[in-house]
Each structure stands twice: as structure tokens, then as C-alpha cells.
Point group: C2
Chain length 154, copies 2
Amino acid sequence: MNMKADIINPFLEATISVLKTMAHVDPVPGKAYIKQGSASKGDVSGIVGITGDTEGSLSITFSGGCILHIVGQMFGEKLDMINDEIKDAVGELTNMISGDSRRRLEEIGYHFLGAVPTVISGPGHEVRHITKGPILSIPFETPGGHFVVEVCFK
Amino acid sequence: MNMKADIINPFLEATISVLKTMAHVDPVPGKAYIKQGSASKGDVSGIVGITGDTEGSLSITFSGGCILHIVGQMFGEKLDMINDEIKDAVGELTNMISGDSRRRLEEIGYHFLGAVPTVISGPGHEVRHITKGPILSIPFETPGGHFVVEVCFK
């Protein structure tokens, strides 16, 4: 699968749509780019495997401040600690962004299935997709801080 | 999918077989058990999504000493730092353990596909499978330290 421009939009739009709907947060996307072999760092990540037309993986890596802001908006309260409720919310958001992306990809002719998401937490952990192929990276800003959506396909 | 005893063995046997073949390490399994909702902690993890008869996820979470020992055995040299080569090796081991497990599951009538693995690194990070269902946890010991294989299905 080529990392064509037409596959960037489904992930970009799904991310914005899910965060707007679920958390009333309007994330501001930076410039999406294709990178090779490097990794992203954050404090909480949602990861979900993809199969179908080809195999892949999707990760969403949040800074601590960013995810406290987003989940605080979801719950309607000010949060200051990354607890189990926040990790579960990251799993739910990851599932929804993965599902909405795949629905949008379906509309342009790609068929994918999503696996069960995993949530990673730990200050400054690194997420590395194991592929020789390109990795699509879309950075976002929120009032609480930044996060990045990364997608790779075989 | 029920967490029946017959699905524990494919993951147990695949893990032992891959580490023996690739790294000449004989991991000693502890008692496998089914847990609900808790998480495991480690320093390097390989994660891979599963689809097919049902969706799931597989994680292998290593202590730092354990993965330095295993990859040191693979490379035939003494390693003392978790670098990019070690992370790539964890991706490769995860892929092979996932593939060998799925081949063994196929033999008893289950059909699964594996996604692209992701490798997480960061001291004491936590891995949490986002499922309401049970999680199969198989602890292992090696001369370098412990690791745990966790599998969940929807």
C-alpha cells in the first residue's frame, strides 16, 4: 500500500471528528509527513493492530498534559493524574479513531479490520512501529499539549 | 472465544520454541493464569494485534535485564544498554512468537491473522489490554530476569 495523500485524510478527519464529538476538543493538525524508521515519545499511548488489504498498526501518543486535558473535557472535570480511568478512556478513543478511520477508508475502497487496542503508560516511553516501510505521522496540538497519530502499513 | 486450556499451550510452546531457536535461551514458564482488567509492567514490550475468528491482542513484556540477556544471546555478545538494535530484535521476536502461536492455533482449528508489531520502550512502562474479557497471562523466568506473555480476545 502506498502512503498516498488520499489515505492521510481518513486518519486526520477521524481523529478530529472523534475528539470533537467525545471531548469537545478541537485538535489543530500540523503538517503530516512520512518518516522512515524513527519513533515517537509520549506519556500515554493507544495502539491498535490493523489487518485486511494489508497489515499495519496505528498509534496515538499523548503528552501527559494533553491527555489530562482531553479526558478532563470528556468527563467534565479537571484531572491532574494519569489514573486507570484515563487509560481506559484512551483505549476507547483509540478504538473509535481506528473504527472511524477504517469506515472512511472503506468509502475510498480500502478494507481493513481492527484488533483489540492496548494502552501504554509511563513517562517518556517510546513507540516504534516495526516495519521496513514508511510511517505516516500526523502531529496535533491541543490547549493541554501535543499528541501524534502514527500509521504504518506493510 | 473461551480462554480454554487448549489455547494456552500454543502461546506457551511458541514462546519457548522461538527463544530456544533464535537465542538459545530456555525460558522457564511459571503458572499461566487468567486475570481480569489488570496490567503488566516492564522496560521493553512487543505488541501485536490479532484478527480472524475474533479480535485480540498479544503482548510480551520484558524486564531490562531479561531482554539484554536474550538479545545478547541472539547476537552472541554481552549487551548492557537498550538500544535500537534491541528494540528491532524485540519486534522480530514478537512477530515470530505471534506467527508460531497462530500456526499452532491453526492446527487445533482456530484461524487468526497478525498485524504489524509495535515495540514500546521506557523504564517501568505499563501495558494494558483494553477488553472487558479475560486476559491470559504466562510468566517466564530466564537467567537475565523475567518476562510475561499476555493474550486477550474479545
